[in-house]
């Protein structure tokens, strides 16, 4: 059987991790693949860790990505990127939103937020692309745009044209008004640009 493409989307409950995974899945379906998508998460709605697994290819059996085999990772938060980086395979591309979000256990001083998560990520054999999608989304007017920005950023890394992913994203907004559609399209483009601007660091 032909190899399966494994994509992990990681972040925190409420960031739209599942939606992003859904959109990547839709794009893969549009390309004619068999697709499975699952989240491996506890209490996604209560700010817990969320990882969504997307697998596509000729025929997908198990929905979970075995550790060390993800081809691509989209991380919505830098500490979460660090938590899951060992689940990607060597030379995999890891796209990271550098906007940090510390949970209350860190705020009250029980645990420390990792120091310079990006530098730590660089010590792994991956191709790292990182940029501040969080601030970018706030600049564009709504924190929820992080989703479209991150998707834009990953678009070129998929085994099909970025246009397919964009189409999958925009169909979600087609009945929700011109304004929202345009805003998400802008966010997608901003993500595409941001991911090009950052230098790549592969080990």
């Amino acid at each position: 059987m032909k190899p399966i493409t494994n994509i992990m989307v990681v972040g925190i409950g409420g960031q739209g991790v599942m939606t992003a995974a859904d959109i990547i899945s839709q794009a893969a379906i549009m390309e004619g693949h068999d697709v499975k998508k699952t989240e491996v998460a506890g209490m996604a709605q209560r700010g817990g860790v969320v990882t969504s697994h997307v697998r596509f290819g000729e025929k997908v059996l198990s929905p979970s990505i075995p550790p060390g085999t993800a081809d691509l990772m989209l991380a919505f938060e830098p500490a979460e990127a660090l938590r899951w980086v060992t689940h990607v395979k060597d030379q995999a591309t890891v796209m990271v939103n550098t906007y940090p979000q510390a949970p209350p256990v860190v705020s009250i001083g029980l645990f420390d937020y990792p120091e310079q998560p990006e530098t730590q990520l660089q010590s792994h054999p991956i191709e790292l692309i990182s940029f501040d999608a969080g601030s970018l989304s706030i600049k564009l007017g709504d924190r929820r745009l992080v989703n479209s920005i991150m998707l834009g950023a990953i678009a070129k890394q998929l085994p099909f044209s970025p246009e397919v992913l964009k189409a999958a994203l925009l169909t979600r907004f087609k009945d929700k008004g011109e304004k929202l559609l345009a805003l998400n399209e802008t966010a997608f483009k901003a993500g595409q640009q941001a991911s090009q601007l950052t230098p790549r660091q592969a080990k």
Binding site: G32, H33, V49, A102, P103, P104, S107, G141
Partner: protein
């Protein structure tokens, strides 16, 4: 045509197992569906509620839910009820009798096991209920099979007049896959045919039904031997073969693509002879089942030699990465599997939402001394975590009141002066808590009850309940009056307080007074869950840096929108060290609930009046 082209020309739906159940119910002509929300089964009824011509409801609890479905089946309609594994324990009383009566219209019970405990108080294997209640158990392995098997279940139920269990697990419920729907059926309800000897389970009638049930077992066992849902997949390599079902099938197939295998779609009663024959054609037979060694025990008892939980873990989810090393060890191919080191990152446990109406309650509880606090199932269970650490027990749905009663009555001399408190949410109280309250009043318990009414089933995403005054379709209905209800259950009117949980001083006062009173008191809070439309956001707050003294009082509230910017250790005049934490408020997340303002002595927390920012927030 290539596989890819075929897919392109043949549009399928990309749906979760839960949505597949809902569509199957609709397409099988199911007329009544009921549930109490519970992870991972919740979405089934949410999807069903959108279909016209199919009655759906959020029931008070799983027993009620099953009884509603039973009633519909007896009335001649196809009926479905859905629940999570622990819900089956609640419904079991009805189940164990219904098995004697059987089904008229197809009666399908969908049970979702939260394997791996993503959000439950225990891990259990619902396949046991099939054996216990003498009912067939069907186990789909992906979304397509979930759709097909659920439809099949209605037919099977009618054919053998038996309720049918469709057992799902987390990795079926929440995995999305491609599904091809088949032609919908329209099933009219039949009329109710009175048959007291069958429907009225007094001992005399029930005794007549037991032999019939045992007869049915035999018929179903025969049926299983040739059932199209039990599939043999002949593989190339005869050194190891598998018996498996459900999500475990997908993992086994992925790990061992060429191994011979029997996939059991109808796993109880198991096709013993089919398996026996299969076992003779391979060297080593392994049963791969998630959680308990159920089939393993059955097959061993039938004299079939095999491996099972002696080599495969009994706890948690099975995945290819769990199965592969176990089998390799069995085959003597002891490969050292590279352990993938986890990076050492802080834990991110679930926490209460920004501005959750329970924050203030737990803030108070963590500041009231000398307490024993019995907790319950729901968001407020999170009060057991940081920063509040304000729960001492959590057992099962509705147990807080009765456990508190037990603590009160069973306490030793040493605890004589402790304040026993029970905390419960609105929907949990209606689900199973009311009986506990009646027990407390009737048996003169000395307990302070916090009834946290947020008008929703918060934990599962804010579904409606009788406390919200809205039904599953969003339509207005009766709204429970908790004050009156508590009064009716025996609490004195003057011992019932209805309070706004964001008003900390009032809350503290009521709590301090009521714990002193030597009889049952109820403090009801009355602000909605932030996940519901009923919750109204206010402009956010901010922290004035130069005023903040770093005392960190506000962090005790536990609102995730309050973030630490800087930590310092200072030495006080008395020589003691003190930790200071300076904070900021994440204005994009803060909803302006004003709770933290109350905790800040130097008045460093102020409303953020920034026109630009508010404009930006409105971009939806």
């Amino acid at each position: 045509m290539s596989a890819a082209e075929q897919v392109k020309n043949n549009p399928r739906m990309f749906i979760s197992g839960n949505e597949a159940v809902a569509l199957a119910a609709r397409d099988a002509g199911c007329r009544v569906a009921s549930a109490y929300p519970g992870t991972p089964s919740t979405e089934i009824l949410e999807y069903i509620s959108a279909y016209p011509n199919l009655y759906s409801e959020w029931s008070i609890n799983e027993k009620v839910s099953l009884e509603v479905a039973i009633g519909a089946s007896l009335a001649g309609s196809r009926a479905l009820c859905a629940m999570k594994h622990v819900g089956m324990n609640v419904a079991s009383d009805a189940l164990m009798t219904q098995t004697l009566i059987g089904a008229v219209g197809g009666l399908v019970i969908v049970v979702a096991d939260d394997v791996g405990l993503s959000s439950s108080q225990n891990e259990q294997d619902s396949r046991y209920w099939g054996r216990f209640a003498h009912l067939p158990v069907l186990e789909p392995s992906d979304s397509q099979e979930t759709y097909d098997i659920t439809r099949f279940a209605f037919g099977l139920s009618e054919q053998y007049a038996v309720p049918v269990i469709v057992r799902l697990t987390t990795r079926i419920c929440h995995v999305k896959g491609l599904v091809q729907l088949s032609t919908p059926q329209i099933k009219e309800g039949q009329k109710f045919n009175k048959d007291a000897s069958r429907f009225v389970m007094v001992p005399g009638n029930a005794k007549q039904r037991i032999p019939l049930m045992l007869e049915r077992d035999k018929t179903l066992a025969n049926f299983s031997e040739s059932c199209s849902l039990n599939v043999i997949e002949q593989g190339d390599n005869r050194s190891v073969g598998f018996i498996t079902s459900g999500a475990a099938y997908c993992h086994v197939r992925e790990a061992f693509p060429d191994a011979p295998l029997i996939k059991l779609g109808l796993s109880h009663p198991a096709p013993i002879e089919l398996i026996r024959e299969f076992s003779q054609s391979i060297d080593k037979l392994v049963v791969i089942e998630e959680v308990e060694p159920l089939l393993e025990t059955e097959l061993r008892a039938a004299g079939i030699e095999l491996f099972g939980k002696d080599i495969v873990p009994r706890i948690g989810e099975l995945t290819p990465t769990v199965i592969t090393p176990a089998i390799e060890r069995l085959l003597g191919k002891e490969k050292s599997i590279a352990t993938i080191g986890m990076t050492d990152v802080f834990p991110r446990p679930p926490t209460m939402c920004v501005a959750c109406p329970h924050l203030g309650i737990y803030y108070c509880l963590s500041h009231v001394k000398n307490t024993i606090i019995a907790g319950d199932i729901g968001c407020y269970t999170l009060g057991a975590g940081h920063p509040w650490n304000a729960l001492d027990t959590c057992i099962s749905m509705g147990a807080s009141l009765s456990v508190a009663q037990g603590i009160d009555k069973g306490r030793s001399e040493e605890d004589a002066n402790k304040n026993v408190i029970a905390v419960i949410g609105d929907s949990t109280f209606l689900h199973m808590g009311m009986q506990g309250l009646l027990d407390i009043t009737y048996n003169k318990g000395n307990i302070t009850i916090l009834l946290l009414d947020n008008r929703a089933v918060g934990m599962t995403g804010g579904q409606n309940a009788p406390s919200s005054g809205i039904d599953i379709h969003g339509e207005t209905t009766i709204q429970v009056d908790f004050r009156k209800l508590c009064e009716a259950l025996g609490v004195k009117s003057e011992r019932i307080h209805e309070l706004n949980p964001y008003e900390l001083p009032t809350l503290f006062k009521a709590l301090r007074e009521e714990v002193k009173v030597k009889e049952p008191s109820v403090i009801i809070t009355n602000q909605p869950c932030v996940l519901t439309e009923r919750y109204a956001k206010q402009p956010p707050l901010t922290v004035e840096d130069d005023k903040c003294t770093g005392c960190s009082n506000c962090l005790d509230v536990g609102c995730p929108a309050i973030l630490v910017t800087k930590r310092e250790t200072v030495v006080k005049p008395n020589g003691k060290e003190k930790e200071l934490s300076f904070v900021k408020i994440d204005t994009a997340a803060c909803t302006g609930c004003n709770l933290c303002i109350n905790t800040c002595a130097p008045d460093a927390i102020i409303p953020l009046i920034n026109v630009d920012y508010i404009n930006a927030m409105e971009v939806k």
